[in-house]
Structure formats: C-alpha cells, structure tokens
C-alpha cells in the first residue's frame, strides 16, 4: 500500500464513504435487534438502505460527477423497476391490512 495513495484526496473521500457505509450497516443491524424500534423498523431500514444505495452510486460509481446522460439511464432503469416492484406488491396487498 503506497503512501501516495493514502494522501490522495479522492482516496480519502472513498475511505470516508466506506466508513459511512460500514457504520450504516452496523446501525441497520443494531436497529434490527432493538425491540423498542420494532414499530418503525421498516421505514428506518428503508431509509438507511436508500442512503447506502445513493452513496455507492454517487461516489463509487461517480454518478455525482459523470453527467446527466448516465444519471438518466440509471435513474430510468431504477425508477421503472422500483415502480413495478411497488405496483406488484400493491396488487398483492403487501402494503397495509
């Protein structure tokens, strides 16, 4: 492991993102085991999941700096996929009742 790599600004950013990712994962598991949070478990976990998703996409996959075309392609794919998952789950009565 070279020293120049450690001091490189982007390297520091990547490590910081990875630390946040690891912390979020630990937090997710902690939340899972805390009985008191059971009623709000689902929203908390989904928010943390989305945060991790966004961190990887924006920083590791450079979407933040890579321009609108790639963002659009990924966003459309992810959006339509999510919409269909949600629609199917709704049809099968997976939300509420």
């Amino acid at each position: 492991m070279s020293h120049s790599a450690e001091s490189h600004p982007s390297t520091r950013l990547y490590v910081a993102v990875a630390v946040i990712l690891a912390a979020l994962t630990a937090l997710e598991v902690m939340v899972f085991y805390i009985e008191a949070l059971a009623p709000v478990l689902i929203p908390i976990l989904l928010v943390m999941m989305a945060a991790k998703f966004a961190l990887v996409a924006m920083f590791f996959m450079h979407l933040k700096s890579d321009g609108p075309v790639l963002n659009a392609i990924f966003a459309w794919g992810a959006f339509i996929a999510t919409a269909i998952v949600v629609a199917l789950m709704a049809i099968y009565g997976k939300f509420g009742a």
Binding site: M1, S2, S4, A5, H8, S10, T11, Y14, V15, V17, A18, L21, A22, T25, A26, E28, V29, F32, L41, I42, L45, L46, M48, M49, K52, F53, V56, A57, F59, F60, M61, D66, G67, V69, L70, I73, F74, W76, G77, A78, I80, A81, T82, I84, V85, L88, M89, Y92, K94
Partner: protein, 189 residues
C-alpha cells in the same frame, strides 16, 4: 480505436450503464417475486428459522469493503500506480471470493437443515434471488481476475483505466443489489 462520441462518454462505459439499467429490471422482478411470496409458505422451514444475521452481516461487510478496494484500484490505475492496482484488484477479487464462500456455506447449511431448492416457496424464491446475485459476483470475480492477470503480465496500465472503471461499475452495482437484498431478505423478516 474509436473516435469521439456524441455524448463524450466512451461507448463501453455507456453500454455498461445501459446494461446496469436493464439489470435493475432483472433484480426488480426477482425481488418483487420474493416480496410477494413472503409469508406464503405452507411448509417449514421458515425464513426466521434459518437466517443467520450476524454471519450475513460479516459477509455483507466484506462485500461493501470490496467496493472500496475497487475504487482504490481504479484510482491507482488512473495514476498508473501498477503495484497498488494489482494489490487492490487482487483484494477486490479476494473479498468477492470470501463473500461467495459465505454464500456457499449459507446455502449448504440451508440444504442440510432441510431446505433444498424445491422445498417451499421461501427456498425457491430465496435461492433463485440470492443465487442470481451470487452468479453476478462470481462473474465479477472472474472478470477482475483477468484484469489482475493482465496487470501482472504488464498488459494493463493507465491507458486501460477505462476497462477497470467499467469492471468497477459492474462490481459496485452488484454491491448495490446486495445492499438491497441484505435489508429486504435478512432485516425485514
């Protein structure tokens, strides 16, 4: 090779992103099926009998960290630091292998506990969903290994950073999918 492109994005990189957009639908459908069939098992074992969350947390962590290794490999090859490139590429592939090992252990444990593929709805949806993800990880490991070999052979350097970047995009996407699966399958039981 290829000239300037209309969007300024190299063809192969655009293709990888396009492929990733399409993969969203593939995993989306698998996830939808898993979610719809959750709780509809008629015969045991049930998910909460088997899912080992501490264990999966460890392999999840390994896969997350492999993503860090991957960006570090890209950063290294971009500044033509081939020694670091080899190190980070190798570690990424190794972490991927560890994750696969964990999955192999988990699968064989499930089968041993009486949950083969065709046992019930949980087994069918679980194995196909996580198995598809695992196959993607395995493909990634093979891809990264060829990049590593080519770096060792001296055939891959800063001029081929785009190749590493594209492999990295794939790898991170596979990681993102796992972020979702980890939450949906293991934590939202």
């Amino acid at each position: 090779m290829e000239g300037p492109t209309s969007t300024g994005i190299p063809n192969r990189k655009l293709a990888m992103w396009t492929f990733i957009g399409s993969e969203c639908m593939l995993f989306g459908t698998l996830i939808a099926t898993y979610m719809i069939y959750r709780g509809r098992n008629l015969v045991p074992p049930y998910p909460h009998d088997l899912l080992n969350i501490p264990f999966i947390t460890v392999t999840t962590f390994v896969l997350l960290m492999s993503s860090l290794m991957m960006v570090l490999a890209l950063a290294a090859v971009q500044r033509n630091d081939l020694r670091a490139t080899k190190l980070w590429l190798g570690l990424t592939a190794l972490f991927g292998l560890i994750f696969l090992g964990g999955q192999y252990y988990e699968f064989s444990h499930f089968v041993h506990e009486g949950l083969p593929l065709s046992r019930n709805l949980f087994s069918s949806t679980f194995f196909v969903l996580t198995g598809t993800h695992g196959a993607h990880v395995a493909g990634g490991v093979i891809w990264l290994s060829t990049l590593l070999v080519r770096t060792v052979q001296g055939k891959l350097d800063a001029r081929h950073a785009e190749t590493v970047e594209i492999a990295g995009l794939y790898w991170h996407f596979v990681d993102i999918v796992w972020i979702i699966l980890f939450t949906l399958i293991y934590l939202l039981v």
